[in-house]
Symmetry: C2
Subunit: 338 residues, 2 copies
């Protein structure tokens, strides 16, 4: 057996990994008797904390780094980020762990920040978002040897831990549903084309053409903004006129609904609309919007949980598949020409 | 100018921040000639790496603390927070200053975190939000002697710097407009009653009763959630039935619009709706919602600017009044019984 992990200690003592983490970090949350048993087992198993800071007698930074290489405005426009932060903090704040948040220009700057914060012990680990098709950040973090969790995208992350959803399966469930309603001309207003999950969704639509006998299946990439979501919708409704549009975010779906109203296209009579990501936005519009619902707040909590586990036990590697987003049907979808 | 940053060196040499970071960290990725120019500029500008600077004491943490004593879910539900963070980061990231973010339970825990982060040099200053009528945080921060900026509420902050808007004036502009349309029964679905700005808005409505000859002017406090916004609306529409409702946030206004639809109350025919805070939410609903528009992203930028000034010059005290929110009239308001 290699270096013992927190899981090994938990198994040996017969308690949860969380209890072991609390005990080893000298935090409240376990009884004194349990703490003593855990510390005894850790000694017997020759367990040692990994962090250099701790080895040098330093303490945890009690902070997790989140470096975002998107325009700062994205934080305000995309409910996804607010929900993610909310879920992350809900879990992290239970252990008084802060988020150390910085917006940067590109992946290169992001990597520079990883190096700087790691060497200055600013954070105990990093949460990576927006994994790309070819992503230099994985190797950089691996080299730094700092705990990290990738949100989105599975496998192949140079053995970094990850939390991900099955975007292909989610997209197929939407396309299947629309095809079952009778739609044959389906458009997709997509997000940033360099992102893995955008690619997965676009491919899932393309792969459905023959299987479902679609006449039209086009994906228009955008920057996720409401402005580009609206522009893409105008383009689509001015040309081939799909009978259904799937949007990669709720904000873009709302913008699309606004454009349909502006152009006198009835929803769902003449156009069905489906949103990826479900927020208060999709429920209070008129008509309410059929959405792929995932609990982004809960997702943030899961990512935080894995982050805390990997910080407590840097030898661990977790690969957590979250629930596939579920289609919640509301008033914005109907058979074509209904 | 404070301690030179990597961005300053990048600008001076005319290369990317990433290139400067690579050169200063002795990593491959830049040519030897560029590396020499960067190192020369760094020497001339007296640049010091974080670790060395920190060892010498008095160095910057290059981070600003934001401790939020509201449920973590608020971050996800209120577009205000996402917009504020977005504006803060847009300005702070220009100087590579991170946000150090933590959600806590109450003001007491908040003050404990201020003490801990200050003594551990985790941050260079704090941004306070949600100033309350009696607020123990002001004296605590004053005592710590750490740079701080209060967002909201003016004056009396034990000489802390502040950035604030005239909430009374904003509320009066809404009530004047509704009265001019002919409304005499105006309700107000308010935010948390302990907050200064909630109190100011409630008082502004009460003070308008005689002046404008209102028959009804009631404020119902809530926790800012869409759920309580909806519940307050049901209460109002089941009883005295105001002809206009002013909501203290856009999310609550949307929830209120949903309740009106559910109860068969026509907006704006039978009920006018006005929102405080303008976001994409109010523009894409049907009908679109008349709103007090303030640019929360710009507000975040102003707060960040003042924060950076006070960090650079801890003796300074700034008191910045921002533009009063402006009423943007859309489709949700009309004369009563129209």
């Amino acid at each position: 057996m290699g270096r013992p992990t927190i899981a090994d200690i938990a198994q040996r003592v017969g308690v949860s990994k969380g209890a072991v983490s609390f005990a080893l970090n000298g935090r409240p949350g376990v009884s004194e008797a349990t703490r003593a048993r855990i510390l005894e087992a850790a000694r017997e198993m020759n367990w040692r904390p990994h962090s250099a800071a701790r080895a040098l007698g330093g303490a945890r930074a009690d902070a997790v780094g989140l470096v975002i290489a998107r325009p700062a405005s994205t934080l305000g426009v995309e409910p996804f980020f607010a929900h993610l932060l909310s879920g992350l903090q809900a879990r992290l704040s239970e252990q008084q762990v802060a988020m150390h948040l910085l917006v940067v220009e590109d992946a290169e700057a992001e990597i520079a920040v990883y190096r700087e914060w790691t060497s200055a012990h600013r954070v105990d680990g990093f949460i990576l978002i927006d994994p790309k098709v070819r992503d230099p950040r994985f190797a950089a973090l691996k080299e730094l040897g700092v705990p990290a969790v990738v949100l989105g995208g599975s496998g192949g992350h140079a053995s970094l831990s990850s939390v991900w959803a099955d975007d292909r399966e989610a997209m197929l469930s939407v396309v299947d549903y629309l095809a079952a309603l009778g739609h044959r001309r389906i458009a997709h207003v997509a997000g940033l084309p360099g992102l893995r999950h955008t690619q997965r969704r676009m491919r899932a639509l393309r792969d459905s053409v023959r299987r479902l006998g679609l006449v039209e299946a086009v994906s228009l990439p955008t920057d996720f903004s409401d402005a580009e979501g609206a522009a893409a919708t105008r383009t689509l409704l001015s040309r081939g006129r799909p009978s259904a549009i799937v949007y990669d975010s709720d904000v873009m779906a709302l913008a699309g609904l606004g454009v349909a109203m502006e152009m006198g296209v009835r929803v769902p009579g003449e156009l069905s609309i489906v949103a990826f990501d479900d927020s208060v936005l999709t429920r209070v519009t008129h008509p309410s919007i059929t959405s792929l619902s995932r609990d982004t707040v809960a997702l943030g909590g899961q990512v935080a949980e894995v982050m805390l586990e990997v910080i407590a036990d840097p030898g661990a590697r977790r690969d957590v598949k979250t629930a596939t987003p579920r289609l919640v049907v509301r008033r914005s979808t109907a058979p074509p020409g209904d």
